[in-house]
Amino acid sequence: MHDKNLSPLQAVILMLALAIVLFPVFWILMTAIKPPTDWNASPAIWIPTEPTLVNFQTLFDPEALGKYGVGGVSQPATKAVLGSLMATIVATALSVTIGLFSAIGISRYSSGGKATPLIILSGRMFPPAAIAVPFVIIFSNVGLIDSYAGLIAIYVAVTLPFSTWMLKSFVDDLPREIEEAAMIDGRSKLMAHLTVTIPLIKGGLFATTMFIFILNWSEFMFALVLSYTDVSTIPVQLAKYVTATAGTLYGVQAALAVLAMIPLVVVGYLIQSHLARGMTFGAIKQ
C-alpha cells in the first residue's frame, strides 16, 4: 500500500485539488494588498496593479486612504484587535488550567465522569444562538453584558469541554506506574501529579493551549450578541465593516480578515499533528 508512486493522473488530480484549496487563501491575500482602484473592478483583478500596505494602515489610521481620495472606515480596528488578544489570552489560560485539573481527576480517579459526557454533549449541540439567550438575560442581571469579563466567561464555557477531554487523552496516554513510583518515593498524590504528571504531558499541554487559542480567537456569535459599545473583537469588527460598507471597502475588510487568520494558520501548522485529537475530543489520536 505504501510503496507505490503516484501515477501521472493522480498527480494531476492532486495538483488540481491543491489549487482549489489554496485559491481562496490567495484571493484574500491579494485583495488585502490591492489599491482602492482595484477593489471592485469588473472583471475582477487577480494580481494587484500596485501592491500597497495602505489597507492595513487604514485599520489603525482611518485617514490613511486619503491619498487615494477615498474615505476611510468609520472606526479603526485597534480596539477590536486589542480586545481579541486580551479576551483570547485570558480565556485560554483559564480554560486550559481548569481543564488540566479536571483531566487529571477524570483520568486518574474517574471522578465526575458519569454525567459529564452528556452535559458536555448537550452544551456542544445546543444551537449557540439559544445558549446566548439565557446568557444575555443572566448577564444583564449581574452587569456582565458588554464587558470583557462576560465575554471571557462565555469563551471558557465554550472551550472547557475541549480542553478537558483533549488533556484527558494525553493523561490517559501516560502510564500510571510513573506516578505510582513517585508516590512510593514518599511524595503525596498531589505533589506526584504536580511534579510528575504535568511536566510529562508538556507537549500535550502546549498543543491543547494552542488549540483552545484557535477556538477562542474564532468565536463570533457570542461576541456579536454580547457586545454593544465597550467590547469588540476582530470577527465582530469584520462583520461590522462588511455591513456598514458593503461592496465598497473590500481592501480594508480583506486586510482585517488576513490579520485575523495569520496567527491561526501559524499556530495550526505548529500543532497539526494534534488537530484531529482536539477536534474529536481525544477519540482519535495520531
Partner: protein, 308 residues
C-alpha cells in the same frame, strides 16, 4: 466511561476521593455556572411567553407546551429550517467524505514534498469561520473570480447573481462548507488508513482478493469507527452552522439559506421572541442527541476501548 483502578493508596495523605474532588471541583463549578445554569434558564423560559418588554423572566406567564406545539405543528419556517439544515448536512457530509477519502488514499502513495502538501491541505480548517464566510462572499460576487472562471471554462458570459437566487445561494453555502471542512475528513481518514494493519491486507491480496474486496472487507471494518466519529463531529457542527452563512447570505435571499441556528438567532435577536427561540433550541437538542446516539451505537464499545 472506562473504569479506572484507583491509584495505590498510601497510608498517609488525603484519600483518593478527596484528591479527586480537589482536581475536578473547579471544572464542575465552572460547568454548572456557565453550562447547566444557562441551560436551566433556557428550559424554564421555553415554557413561558416571556419577552424582554415584559420585565423580569419570573413574572412571565407560564404557557406549558404551547411554544413546543406551535413549533412542531404550525411553524413552517421552522420546519423548512430543519429540512434545509438536514439537506445541507447530507450533501456536505457526502461530498466531504468522498473528497476527503480520495485525498487520503492519494496520500498513501509515495511522492516528494508530501509533508509540505499535507500541511497545505489542512489550511482551510485553520481559518476562522467568519473569515471563510467573508472570503467566499467575495469570490461569489457577480463580478468576482468564480463567475470569471465559469466564463473561462464555458466561454459564455456568466452573470450568476449567487446571492439573489435561492438555489445558487444554497450552492454557495455548500461549496463554502465543503471547502472549509473536507480537510478534517482528510485528516481523520488518513490517520485511520495509516492505522490499518498491513498483514491482513497483504494476506487478502495473496489469497486473490480484488482491490474492491480488500477495501470493503479488510480496510473498511478498521475504518468504520473513525468514519462514524468524523460524521458525528461534523453533524454536530452543521447543526450549529451560523458564522459562514451569516457572512455569506444572512440567511437570504428571503429565508432560502436560513439554517436552524440562523432562524433561532433571528427569533431571539431580531424579533425578541426569546421564549419561543429557546423552545426551538430544545427541540433541536433532543433531536441531535437522538441522532448522535443512533450514529454512535455501533461503535460505542470500540471507542471506549481506545480510551483506555
Amino acid at each position: 466511561m472506562p473504569t479506572t483502578k484507583p491509584l495505590r493508596n498510601k497510608p498517609s495523605g488525603l484519600s483518593n476521593s478527596a484528591i479527586a474532588r480537589m482536581f475536578t471541583l473547579p471544572g464542575q463549578v465552572v460547568s454548572v455556572l456557565v453550562l447547566v445554569v444557562p441551560l436551566m434558564v433556557a428550559l424554564y423560559m421555553s415554557f413561558t411567553d416571556w419577552s424582554p418588554t415584559r420585565g423580569s423572566l419570573f413574572d412571565a406567564g407560564f404557557v406549558g407546551f404551547e411554544n413546543y406545539s406551535e413549533l412542531l405543528v404550525w411553524d413552517t419556517r421552522f420546519l423548512f429550517a430543519v429540512l434545509r439544515t438536514v439537506l445541507i448536512s447530507v450533501v456536505c457530509l457526502s461530498l466531504e467524505f468522498v473528497l476527503g477519502l480520495g485525498l487520503a488514499v492519494l496520500f498513501l502513495r509515495r511522492f516528494r514534498g508530501k509533508s509540505l502538501l499535507f500541511s497545505a491541505f489542512l489550511t482551510p480548517m485553520m481559518i476562522l469561520p467568519v473569515v471563510v464566510g467573508y472570503i467566499f462572499w467575495m469570490l461569489f460576487q457577480s463580478n468576482g473570480p468564480i463567475n470569471q472562471m465559469i466564463e473561462f471554462v464555458f466561454g459564455a458570459e456568466a452573470t450568476v447573481e449567487w446571492f439573489r437566487s435561492s438555489t445558487a445561494a444554497i450552492i454557495a453555502v455548500i461549496v463554502t462548507e465543503v471547502w472549509h471542512w473536507t480537510p478534517l475528513f482528510f485528516l481523520i481518514l488518513l490517520s485511520g488508513l495509516n492505522a490499518v494493519p498491513e498483514n491482513p491486507v497483504r494476506a487478502a491480496v495473496i489469497l486473490g482478493a480484488n482491490p474492491r474486496q480488500v477495501f470493503w472487507r479488510v480496510i473498511m471494518p478498521t475504518l468504520k469507527p473513525v468514519i462514524i466519529v468524523a460524521f458525528v463531529i461534523r453533524s454536530m457542527e452543521i447543526i450549529k452552522l451560523f458564522d459562514e452563512v451569516f457572512m455569506l447570505t444572512r440567511g437570504g435571499p428571503g429565508s432560502a439559506t436560513e439554517t436552524i441556528s440562523l432562524y433561532i438567532y433571528k427569533l431571539a435577536f431580531n424579533d425578541f421572541q426569546l421564549a419561543y427561540g429557546a423552545a426551538a433550541a430544545f427541540i433541536v437538542l433532543v433531536g441531535s442527541l437522538l441522532l448522535v446516539h443512533l450514529l454512535l451505537a455501533p461503535v460505542r464499545d470500540q471507542l471506549l476501548e481506545t480510551e483506555r
